[in-house]
Amino acid sequence: MSKQTKYLLQGLAFLLAVAILSLLWGQYPISFATFSDYLQFKIFSSGAINAQTFSLIDNIILEIRLPRVLLAILIGSALATSGAVFQAMFVNPLVSPGILGVLAGASFGAACGMLLSENWLVVQIMAFVFGFVAVAFALFIGSMVTNSRSSVLLVLGGVISGSLFTSLLSIVKYVADPYSTLPAIVYWLMGSLSMAQLNEVFFVGTPILMSIIAMIFMSKYFDLLSLGDEEAKALGVNVTLIRIVAILLATLASSLSVVMAGIIGWVGLIIPHIVRMVVGPSHRLLIPLSAIVGAAFLLLADAISRLALSVEIPIGILTSLIGIPIFIIVLKNARAAWN
């Protein structure tokens, strides 16, 4: 078995374990034994569990916990994958959907969408369009001062773009109905996986999942692009096409994550760094493994947000609280991984 397959299988096993634990943990804890009895009954329609307990657990798992677990997996991997792809596209390990302003842009777009329409599709499209406008604006500012590729200026461009859309979002909040729309927007923006319903997860999840898969299968190009445009072209890559497609996919995945769960920061920045430290920089492994580790990370963060206090802590706040110390630890080591 190749080293890559081994890492991916280990990652998947870890993710599966965390996912099962997340199904069991909660206000109503389910033991392992009960869970295996439940699974046995579910599959073979017979076993050491009575019908009443079965329907209770069935309800908890299918109606409440499973959608949430699926959503956490989807969003964690969307953010981590797009973070890794943005870092590859701009050959800049300091960028992420949050830092490039994509999350702020998407939240402004989604808030406008909520204000204008009840239609989910409108909200999604608005989030994607403004997520893309935000990253384009960050790039524009980054390239305005100098033609050469500057890591710091792009980060600065992202910060400016992010604050622009945060300000615009404040205007939306200001004009929103303070009794209904405003609290909804504010609560949603703090980040939450609690609104998850199975059909919604499938509806928004499908385009997210498809862009994650596309990014994984494009990963061989990301290695080449990080060598610089000239070398990549000489190695046969259509640099412009790959760059546009990859940026669109990463923007789509991270913007839609905002629609589903608000602004969840730091995942897109730290997960690729952690994965790179462990398995090295090759994107053929980095991209799929970031997807897996990002999913597991968000599942764990969600479990903490549900269990730490008697009230649920918004997950966006929690990922920042966890992400900042991790990033400080990672930063020094991460430098070694990218020279």
């Binding site: 299968f217 061989k220 290695d223 072209k233 190695l235 991984a337 020279n339």
Partner: protein
Amino acid sequence: MELKPIIEVKNLHFSYKKHPVLAGINLELYKGEVVSLLGPNGCGKSTLIKLILKLLHGEGTILLNDKSIKKHSHKEIASLIAYIPQYNNTPFNYSVLEMVLMGRVSKLGFFALPSAHDYEIAHAALKKIGIEHLLDKAFGQLSGGQKQMVLLARAIAQEVNIFIMDEPVAGLDYGNQIRLLELIHELSKQGYTFLKTTHYPDHALLVSSRVIVMNDGKIIAAETPHKVVTKEMILDVYSINVDIITHDLHQRCVPIFQKNN
């Protein structure tokens, strides 16, 4: 039977910000040749190479296998020519095997990942260059000479016949310079075609079947090494005095200090 050139450049002009860099370049490259492009800094050597690889766009005609490079995609060019740039560090420190595998990407479909066959070819390329022991090493931690060897292995993994190298020995120590030149010589005997730029007239004498001298964006000579690398040419292009001596039937270029004696 008259041989057809695999690369043919006709009346090529290129300007950078209205400043002319190349003016009316004509050049032909035939299968099996080792052509050294010689000339001082800023004479347009690297620009010419980049134009042939379609990394820059100029005015004039460049034919690759009788077809204009404008009609070749980068993928098609990469299936005919391998480019070995001056080594540099990437922000992401890939392993040697990963660097060599990158030579396979032009052969793969849009969503395809390298297969076992591609790994085999990468391993074989490393073996051919004699650096399979570096397989798992990080590219960024290698010496300049080793990096050039890895990029050569990547070119071999690309399974093409033409290698274009931009100052392959720049920044290498003396031993690695000579080892790399010997490797180029060996590969040329196996049928690979080389077009390389160089700063060293002596290296041009050492491994070339033809030397092209450029100055001020023009080709001023294109002939066999001993006809081109002469005292007069070096004085003309570099403004220094040299002696051309013969050692073991091969010619060598020996510089002489201006204020000698």
